[in-house]
Symmetry: C2
Subunit: 469 residues, 2 copies
């Protein structure tokens, strides 16, 4: 046993230093099973002091560290490389809710809390913690912050970044920065928490956070509208924003291909509108503190006007909670249906909302010209300009053809995104998957700035090496 | 003429390099006339390229630079020191609105645009740019961003930071970072713009920004409520948040002393409620996309319940735009009334909202025990936990007594703020005024992190030296 392992055992107890392959395996493969890494050990500290002790020991030994939350990331950001010299630092045991202050609308939680646990604690205090995403039953809040998670409520409440008031971070040398402030205004120097949010564990280990809560809306009204085009979707979004302002809490889009895929792969799902109705569909959600009649009237007025103006060709409003949940399930089961069908070449892109429709038309056409067998499966958070712009094959062409052309497809999609001032990773981060690709679309100045920040905070490059930068 | 002056004249034209005392004087004193500095020259570049050329020349000469916007700051952040070796870089000529994208709800503006100009451009496109503060007629957006300005609409829309999607920055060596992205989701590396927002020009010169616009509310309803205590104000705030959610766009408080001061110093102001009605007053504003009846009903219901429960003792709802403006004028004229009365010892503090009432009671008592002549004049943005906790003297004691005890008063107030996890500068920044004081309340770890960021981005310490850090 090495000195380091001995120190880690002293720091966190032998039971929390895993070295047997059977024990460490679940931590060393990402959940999409694309990345497989090795590590000296998986360490499971139970407190900030234990995290600090682990980091100090690793720093002293010059050992790389890979922080990991619920291991639900999509870009390999929490999986170590294959050299086997790193220590995987799992935050899962740090799962206490430290405080909830209803009068300040804040909750202070440890990094290993499951997102759903935070949502439930807020709800029990009659508050909303609005971060919501598919993996919320297993993703940790620490991972959500390290990747600046997005999800379905960003339009109204912002990304994980906008929901964070304070952080506690163990720095790469083991010092603890206590920035757990629950303040909405604080101009006493550089806003250090912003550095660690979205840094994917490359600048330090987030151990706790003070998060912003919101008033719990008692009424939600949900609708599905069939739309003649993505231009019409953008126009409807803008009308909805003007009419509903902050009560518009979601505006999602999906193409007819998505609905057909769900109908085919998940036949238990009922479609309230037939996929043939229109080429595009929008899911709208209005939330109101308590006025059901108002929310209903607003939604009916909006959709009525859209039908009259030709921005929509058909629409259904959920008449019960069950119907609303069914609409959301339809939207949320698109990835599952796609996975069942064998997957696809994925892009998680963001654009100015004003460029989305034109981007999709022009890039679909460019891809079709180059790859006649291609079938776009496009859905996403139009209100945030965020599309899951995925590519599979038309019937008759094996799916493998798409994967075989993954790089060539990226060569069409990513430059088109960049040319419109967009982002090649809207909400999933860079991790290992997009790290090299990202360098092609960032200016030299921006890359140099990022490197200088990394060198300032982690001069020995020990925090999550090979990720992001 | 030195080489540097010659280079600056080449870069921006002789007319834009001011060296005569009569020309430079307005730039070398802050607007409260507390700080008086000197400079080799005042330089007024007209474009990003000119700013870059100026910064390059200064960097090559090892000359410190002091960026300045509208020169409306309250902490001396834009005033050079007295050594006279620096160059003052005024951004006022960079005042073009570069783009407005209504479908993306964004506006791209140069740093020297006056805040009001940005508000008006948004309104002309049927959008709201919500940043709003007393100096909006002369403050520049660049200064607002460099100081992460707050103001009266933070409760609903956030500080300047939350309103910023992208930045263009000239770095301390003259390189230009183009981060003018209009994206609501972008997880492709460290969020560099966050470094420059609130850095008070110590890390680079903000030359342009892409800002977030919101739906323009067509209806606003405003009320003034007389409250038995600050606890009651906090309870009313929470009821208002739960009932009105995002339609609650302002919740301001002021003590009876503030109202008396306005009545005495600005007799043309009419008070809709007599100062004797209660010890505290709250100004509430509800905004609605278009439904006047709803906003009125909600406000009446809220205040009706508060009166019944004893959270309010009286209330008036503005019945016209003129009456609403009069209520806001009352709130906004408190600083003017105080200035007329000879000023006071100011504190711009933030606390968790849940600690505000207890802080004021306990700190008022501690101050009264030590300084029997003291008279607190307290008002501010309760919804943000932000108080202007100012101190003057009771009748019979000259105001000079308060100023003579400024440090001793700070010695009571600031530790009480720190003990409650608060901030000694909520929205004004540190500048020269609070730079040294701030070091007493920050951990060594936090100060070290800030210094390492400064050293990484501005290794020669040329950007706005003597400010913030």
């Amino acid at each position: 046993m090495t000195d380091l392992l001995q120190q880690l055992r002293t720091a966190v107890g032998s039971a929390n230093v895993l070295t047997e392959a059977a024990d460490t395996a679940p931590y060393l493969t990402d959940w999409r099973k694309r990345y497989h890494g090795r590590a000296q050990a998986v360490v499971r500290p139970g407190s900030t002091a234990e995290v600090a002790a682990v980091v100090q020991a690793c720093a002293a030994a010059g050992t790389p560290m890979v922080p990991q939350g619920g291991n639900t990331g999509l870009v390999g950001g929490g999986t170590p490389d294959e050299r086997g010299n790193s220590v995987l630092l799992s935050l899962q045991r740090m799962n206490r809710i430290r405080a909830l202050d209803p009068d300040n609308d804040t909750i202070t939680v440890e990094a290993g809390c499951i997102l759903q646990q935070v949502q439930q604690a807020a709800r029990a205090a009659d508050r909303l913690f609005p971060l919501s995403l598919a993996a919320e039953g297993s993703a940790t809040i620490g991972g959500n912050l390290a990747t600046n998670a997005g999800g379905t409520q960003v339009l109204r409440y912002g990304n994980a970044r906008e929901l964070t008031l304070g952080l506690e971070v163990v720095l790469p040398d083991g010092r603890v920065w206590d920035g757990l402030r629950g303040l909405r205004k604080d101009n006493t120097g550089y806003d250090l928490k912003q550095l660690f949010i979205g840094a994917e564990g490359t600048l330090g280990v987030i151990t706790a956070a003070t998060l912003r809560l919101h008033a719990l809306p008692r009424v939600q009204r949900t609708a599905l509208a069939a739309l003649p085009s993505l231009q019409a979707a953008t126009a409807l979004l803008n009308q909805a924003r003007a009419a509903a302002s902050a009560t518009l809490t979601a505006f999602e889009v999906m193409s007819d291909v998505c609905l057909r895929s769900v109908a085919r792969e998940l036949p238990q799902q009922r479609l309230p509108l037939a996929p043939d109705t229109a080429p595009w569909f929008a899911l709208l959600e209005l939330s109101d503190p308590d006025d059901e009649a108002r929310a209903s009237a607003l939604l009916e007025r909006l959709l009525g006007a859209a039908l009259e103006e030709g921005l929509a060709v058909d629409a259904v409003i959920a008449q019960s909670l069950a119907e609303a949940q069914a609409l959301w399930r339809l939207r949320e089961s698109i990835p599952e249906a796609q996975a069942k069908a064998g997957g696809n070449v994925k892009h998680d892109i963001a654009l100015p909302v004003s460029r989305v429709a034109e981007f999709v038309a022009s890039t679909n056409a460019a891809l079709a010209a180059q790859f006649p067998w291609i079938q776009p499966v496009v859905f996403g958070h139009l209100g945030d300009g965020n599309l899951h712009y995925n590519m599979q094959t038309k019937p008759g062409t094996p799916l493998a053809t798409a994967f075989a052309h993954e790089r060539a497809i990226n060569e069409v999609v990513h430059p088109a995104v960049a040319a419109r001032g967009g982002s090649i990773s809207a909400e999933h981060g860079l991790g290992q998957l997009k790290r090299a690709e990202n360098r092609r679309y960032k200016s030299e100045v921006e890359l140099a700035l990022m490197r200088s920040i990394k060198a300032a905070l982690d001069p020995h490059g020990l925090m999550n090496p090979g990720k992001l930068l």
